[in-house]
Every structure is written in C-alpha cells, then in structure tokens.
Symmetry: C2
Subunit: 350 residues, 2 copies
Amino acid sequence: MQRKATALDVAKRAGVSRSAVSLVLNGRGDGNVAKESQDRIRQAAADLNYSPNPIALSLRNQRTRVIGIVSDEVVVSPFDGNIIGGADDVARAHGFVTVVMDTERDASRDESAVETLLDRQVDGLMYVTVGLKPLDVPQGMLRVPSVLANCYDSSPAPRLHHVIPDEVSGGREATEHLLQLGHRDIAFLAGAATSPAVPLRIVGHREAMAKAAIPVREDRVFMAGWDINDGFHGAMGLLSATERPTAIVCANDRLAIGVALAAARLGLSVPRDLSIMGYDDESRIAATMVPALTTMALPLREMGAAAMSMLLGQIEDPARRPTSDGSGHLETMVPCRLVVRESTGPVPAL
Amino acid sequence: MQRKATALDVAKRAGVSRSAVSLVLNGRGDGNVAKESQDRIRQAAADLNYSPNPIALSLRNQRTRVIGIVSDEVVVSPFDGNIIGGADDVARAHGFVTVVMDTERDASRDESAVETLLDRQVDGLMYVTVGLKPLDVPQGMLRVPSVLANCYDSSPAPRLHHVIPDEVSGGREATEHLLQLGHRDIAFLAGAATSPAVPLRIVGHREAMAKAAIPVREDRVFMAGWDINDGFHGAMGLLSATERPTAIVCANDRLAIGVALAAARLGLSVPRDLSIMGYDDESRIAATMVPALTTMALPLREMGAAAMSMLLGQIEDPARRPTSDGSGHLETMVPCRLVVRESTGPVPAL
DNA sequence: TTGAAAGCGATACCAT
DNA sequence: ATGGTATCGCTTTCAA
C-alpha cells in the first residue's frame, strides 16, 4: 500500500507552495492565487487523486466531523437500529461519520461510553434508546452539542433537546381505526408498566373512546408485557370469557403474534371474528404475519434524521444550543403512522 | 468546556520537558529519566487528569486504533447486530473503537463505504453480513488488514480470512435432536434458494437421517422462504395431508412462528401432536414463543469475537496476514448450539 | 501573488 | 539523565 498523496505532493507537481494548494482546494483561491496556478493545482490534485488527510484536518481544526452515538441496545434491536439509520443518513450527507457505542442495557456503561467518545474528540453526541424513556443524562453530554432520540432528560430542568414519537396520538389513531370499522368492545394490551409510552398510549386510547362516547371497561385495558407469551396469555384471558372483545390493540407486534396464536388456538378467525392491531411495524414481522398485521408504525428513521439535523445545526451554529436558563423549545414530536393491512376488519355481526 | 491538559502542561507542572513526559507515560522511563522525575511526572499527569490526544497520536503514529466495519444490514437486523456486538467487545478490550457503516442491502455502496473508512485511516476492516453469503470483496479491503464475518471471499482464490458458522453440523444436530425424540417423519423447511446456508443445512439433515438409516422423502425437504407467511404456507401444505410429518425443522425462528400458527389453526397441539424446531435463537422471539421454541442458536457473538481477534492479530503482526499465494488456513468455523425448550417433544404414539 | 513559518499534540532521535 | 528538534499533514497568518 503506497502512501497517499499529501498536499505537498500536489504542490510540487503544480510547482507551487502548500499554502496555495490549501487555499485553492478550499475555495479561497480567487483573489489570492493566479487563475493559471489554480488550474494547475486542481489538475495536479485530480492526477494524484488527492484528498486531505482527515486526521491532520481534525488536529488542525479541532473538529473531527465525527458524531458519537450512545445506544442502550441497538445491537440486539431492530428498533433503534432504524433511528440510527436515519441519523446516519443525515450525518453522511453532511460529511460526518458516526461512531456508535452500545451499552447493552447496562446504564453504568453510559458515562464511560460518553467519555471514550469525548476522548476521541467527537463534535457532538446523540443518545438513542429502544423504547421511550427518561434518561439520566451522562455528564459528558453537556460538554459538547448533544441531542436525545427516543428519550428525554429526566432532570427537573431539561438541558438537552430531544426527539420523541407522538405516543398519545399513536394510541388514539390506533383506536380510531378500529372504531371506524364499527368495533365498540376494544381491548388494549398495553406493554409493561416501566415504559412511559404506556400511559401516553392509554391516554390516546381513552381520548378516542371518549370522542366516540363509548365507556372504557377497566378490565379491557391492562399492562401485559412486551413479548409473545405476554400477548398470548393476555388474549387467552380476554378471549375465553363469555363476553369477549371484538378487537385488541397491542403495544407491539410481538404481543400481536401472541394474540394471533391464542385466537388460532381458540378457533377464532382473524379478522373475521377478531381484529388485531400491532404497534411498531417491526420489520420482517408485521408485513409477513398471517394475516398481515395492521399496525401503528413508529417514525424511527424520521426521528433519527430529525435528531441528527438538530445536532448538526447546533454544531455549526453554537448559538442554537439550548440555553441553561431552561427557556426555548426543547422537544420535537414526530407523528406515528397507521399501516393498514389484513388483521383488522369490520366488527362481526351480532 | 476548558481545554484538555496536554503533554506540555504536564511537563511544565512537573518541571521537565515534553520528551520526558512521553517516555515515562509510555513505560520507557526507567534508564532514561530519574526515578524522582518519574514520580513528579506521574503525579502531575494524575493531577491534570491527563490523557494523550488520540488525534495527535493517530497523526504521529499513523495508526488510529479504529476498526471499520461494513455491514450489509445491521440497522434493521437483530442478527448481525450480535456479530458486531461480539466484535466490538473484543475491540474495546484492546483499546480500539469500531465505526460501522451500513449499506442497507445496497451492494453498490460497498466500495464507497470502504473508501470512506479507509479515508478515515482505519487500522483494519471487517465485513459483516446478516446471512451466510459469498462476498464480492471490495477492492479497498485488500489494502489494509481485513476479515470477513458470516461471509466469504467469492473470488476463485480467496484472499481474506473469514469466520462462518458450521451450518452442516447445525442442520445435522437439529435433526439428530428430533431423531432422539423418536421422530421418523421429519420435514425440513429450508429457507430461500439464494442462501448458501440452505444446501449446507440440508446436507447436515441428510447426514443425520442417513446415520439413522431413514430414507429422506423428497417432498419433506424444500425451500420455503424466510418469513412467517412462508412458514405458515409451507406447514399448511405439510400438515393438511393425510400423512403428515411429526416434526418440522425450520430454517429460522420466524418460519417456526408461521408453522405454529398453522398448527394452531389446524387444531394441532405443540409439541404433543407436532414438534417444531427453529433456527437462530432470535432474541425476543424464540424464548418467549408459545410454546418456547427449541432452536439451533447461531454463534453470532462468538463469530464476531473470533473475527475481531483474528483481525487485531493481523494488525499487530502483519506477518499473520494471509499471503497472496493462497496458502494457509483462511477459514474459522464456529459450531452452532442446540437450545432445547418446549416446542419439541417425544413423537406421538401411533 | 506567492512562499515561509507557526502551530495543532504527541513521539523519537540526537545532542548535550 | 535531560531537553531541543524534526516529523506527522494541514491551515492560516504574515512578509516579501
């Protein structure tokens, strides 16, 4: 592997000095360097396939064009992977590179991940979580421009901008979809109590029911958990009763799988006898379920992109960083998206 | 954010020169610097919370301690995420950081991802794929130490070391597990034809059947696809026939979900009437299925760790890089791991 | 219009 | 034993 061409090589070939090369290649040639020299320099650079050494640039400019991303569990999750994908797209488009450190659900690794990244001189930081949650913001994040994606500063006076999904309207629109199909007895399997998304979605559900003037039966709304077996057991309880709901909204697509399993075991046909809604639009799951799952898609890519745009904005214009006086608008809320497939249908005739 | 301490700051505080600081902090103090000065230097470094600037180090040493990882689709996959997790663990333990670029299934982005990474002066490269596959190795990977994880050089004379799972024994052991439970009529839903893992697992299946002296019915082994609906339709065909298999091996856990759905719809109880095996041990799926899935776990973390160890070895000792004469052992095969849960059981009595 | 020189932070060689 | 100096590759200021 022969050494890459440096600015000096280009200068020699063009018969000028390094400074001239630098000026021209950075668009500040006009008025400083003779038109003719400019051409020679550009030609030489092209010949040698020159591009400046980013390491040297970083050292010189004190900016690395690297964004550090800390994630609580990307590497095992199809979810926030998409947030990172959206963020990375935006970063790449601006000539930045992302370095992600995953703490694998071990919050005690947060600080050290941030320090490692800071040590590497990242220009900005982003913290991404799989599920919506309050975050005990690592100290280091306050030292450089930073944003939060799918989580929010848990301190009394939030200091960082965050981007989160609009869970209330997500819950509301899910229920509204079912309402429009004529359902009146709708159950809501709401995930696990630890997630702040849960109460928000329930609020949305209640709003929709209230608007339709339908009372919410308390035994129809409960925390089930997040996994297939949770959905299964929740549904078995709901569906074995003499009076069973005609539709079930699940807090994620895996719960919906459990519900579908339960329905099949009980001889119920979906969506003829029972409508099922998922949440997340999990890739490789929702679209290929049998029947294909109607679900509420989380706007993960958009969230990642929005968070990164916000961050890059702060980096290039430090004035945009949130002020410590707690003023200003620190929240971006992205709407969820209803995806209608085949697991929901008209309410069965009585 | 006040500036970080530099070697010069430490030198001043200790009343010595930068060189002395460098020597001492790199363990080459003895014989060069007075014991007393050494102590003062170490003390000063601790006081100032000094650590060398990695950017400056990179420029100076021409090594960045950054490993570039190109992945074909991590960000949407719970699978190779684990490979990367395993790789990252090892890298971190050696003071390296990983930068991953995901091409999101667009092979035309391979070269540019590699170039971006190379441009950033990574010390080594790793290419990771979700499923086993031959790889058209990006040119750039030949310019620095590189390894392949879950894929292999498709060229006639492989130039890069690769780490892959032992699919043949995976297929064999899956079938053997069922054989031990007394099953004789075993179906094999084998994924999609495009994956090289498919024929390998089938070979394993046939080996196991042959060893048990059971003829393989050709209508019992076929490519179904990789998704839930594929498993469902495959199983509906298999299970609606008058003579149905007592066990089905699936090429992944999502297929197994489809099979379970079909079984439930047909009123078949698992594992009483039908045993189902998955493959992958996909997180959040296999362990929480109803019933919990017996499955063949892919050794993803181990593969990532093995690949990274290999790579770091090559970086610190270039002599270990594969020679272009095609000699040497370029393959590391990692065994799969049977995980027995509840979806498999004794063959039903006739 | 051009080139020489300083500096970003660290290491290694070479005098002293 | 110690400190001065060149070097890594680049940008920027300043003199010519």
